[in-house]
């Protein structure tokens, strides 16, 4: 099951990239740089999806106290952090190409950067706590609070930015670009599912090793 999902992910991402890079014509306004969006936006989507997943799993853990939810949340955080880090790197490369500046206080970019800090904090707390149940509790708390602040962070940055600069008009998407983007969305989501399954299984094996029964000597 996992292997086929992995192969499918690989295939669809490859096809999506080829379409995005070679087949689809470059965007009239931005030119070639616009092709970066076919990887920048899907990774941002995967990052957001991962952190929403963490929010759900963390809430489930807080209610049911089953360690499996915590393991899923932790897996999603790890993948989410990788995805969001990539999103920011790609965002600044794309920003450099279009606005000519490496960093731009664009509400989306700023919010994703802040989210990265939240979930890096999640991973640091996770690495510092030995007891699995204690670790699960604190991480679930951060998972929930981390996600709850996203809308307000975005809103406050958006208002703040619109004071200094008229908000950049949302890029209008011609249908053919739209299709390519949607295809890549699906491809990267399958990739996310594959990584989740694999990381979760690894986490489960590592946990069972950690809890090796009452006679485990220190």
């Amino acid at each position: 099951m996992q292997r086929t999902l992995g192969a499918l992910a690989l295939a669809t991402i490859a096809i999506g990239t080829i379409i995005g890079l070679f087949i689809v014509p470059a965007d009239g306004l931005q030119g070639e740089i616009q092709r970066l969006l076919y990887v920048h936006v899907p990774t941002a989507w995967v990052g957001m999806l991962a952190f929403f997943f963490v929010f759900i799993m963390s809430t489930l853990y807080l209610v049911q106290r089953r360690l499996d939810w915590d393991l899923m949340a932790a897996s999603a955080v790890e993948i989410g952090v990788v995805a969001i880090a990539l999103t920011i790197i790609l965002g600044s490369i794309w920003g450099q190409g279009t606005w000519g500046v490496w960093w731009e206080w664009d509400p989306r970019l700023t919010t994703t950067a802040l989210l990265l800090i939240v979930y890096v904090g999640y991973l640091v707390v996770r690495s510092m706590t030995e007891d699995p149940d204690q670790r699960a509790r604190w991480c679930a708390v951060i998972g929930v609070i981390g996600f709850v602040q996203v809308p307000i962070v975005y809103l406050s940055v958006f208002w703040w930015r619109s004071l200094h600069q008229p908000p950049s008009s949302p890029r209008s998407m011609a249908t053919v670009f739209g299709f390519t983007l949607l295809f890549n969305f699906a491809a990267y989501t399958i990739g996310f599912a594959y990584l989740m399954m694999r990381r979760y299984r690894l986490a489960k094996r590592e946990l069972s090793l950690e809890l090796a029964g009452p006679d485990a000597e220190p």
Binding site: I117, V120, V141, I142, V148, S156, V157
Partner: protein, 226 residues
């Protein structure tokens, strides 16, 4: 409900007593805040007009940094008395601990601000008195937001090894709306609120304070659990 408030009051009473006796918290905060203000004066002092224009921002930078210092100490007295978790031995809702510590932090920060605002007025030549009412409201909302999420993460990190690193790391993203809202409202108010935007910032602050308080109260019992 009244039992919750009474026990929160007991914790507040204990912490204020400790604070007035040792004076460590407030004096450390005041000297730190003074240091920040003077640094700003040296850094931007040459251009008085600039200084007074960004006074609102500098003020909140001083409050947030000094406040983080105070947050780190809010569970210190518990650690010296056997650990914050022992407070769970008392009957009743664990949230009383959160409310007691939250009130303590808000009062401590209010005491700091009572001195910090006039100092800013003098150092940065800004007229505060005409806007006293709005500024008090903004200061309260900003301090409440800061303390609500700050006390929560202080309780979480007090059990962790590198808590000096972790408290700011966890706190910083959550503080962005509080800082943006407070600074926005303060700067607009000080400038006489020409575009009427202060009200918008105040609504953002109020909404965020409410959301943070509800979420923190809901989750807090998990934080002290073992």
């Amino acid at each position: 409900m009244t039992e919750l408030v009474r026990r929160a009051g007991a914790i507040l009473w204990k912490d204020l007593l400790t604070e007035t006796r040792t004076r460590q918290g407030l004096s450390a905060m005041l000297s730190f805040a003074a240091l920040i203000l003077f640094l700003f004066t040296f850094a931007f002092g040459a251009d008085a007009a600039l200084l007074s224009r960004i006074a609102g921002g500098l003020l909140w930078v001083a409050i947030v940094f000094t406040g983080t210092l105070a947050l780190g100490r809010s569970f210190q007295s518990e650690e010296l008395a056997g650990g914050a978790r022992l407070l769970r031995l008392y009957p009743g809702d664990v949230r009383a601990i959160y409310l007691g510590k939250l009130a303590g932090n808000v009062l401590l920060l209010a005491a700091l601000e009572l001195l910090l605002f006039p100092a800013t007025a003098v150092l940065f030549q800004v007229e505060l008195l005409p806007h006293a009412a709005t500024l008090t409201l903004v200061a309260f909302l900003g301090t409440l937001g800061f303390s609500t999420i700050g006390t929560f993460f202080a309780a979480l990190t007090v059990h962790l090894r590198a808590r000096e690193l972790l408290l700011p790391l966890l706190l910083f993203p959550a503080l962005v709306p509080v800082v943006i809202g407070s600074v926005g409202a303060t700067v607009e108010t000080l400038a006489g609120d020409p575009f009427g935007r202060a009200g918008g910032w105040i609504r953002l602050l109020t909404a965020y304070d409410v959301i943070l308080f509800v979420v923190c109260m809901w989750i807090f019992p998990v934080v002290l659990e073992e």
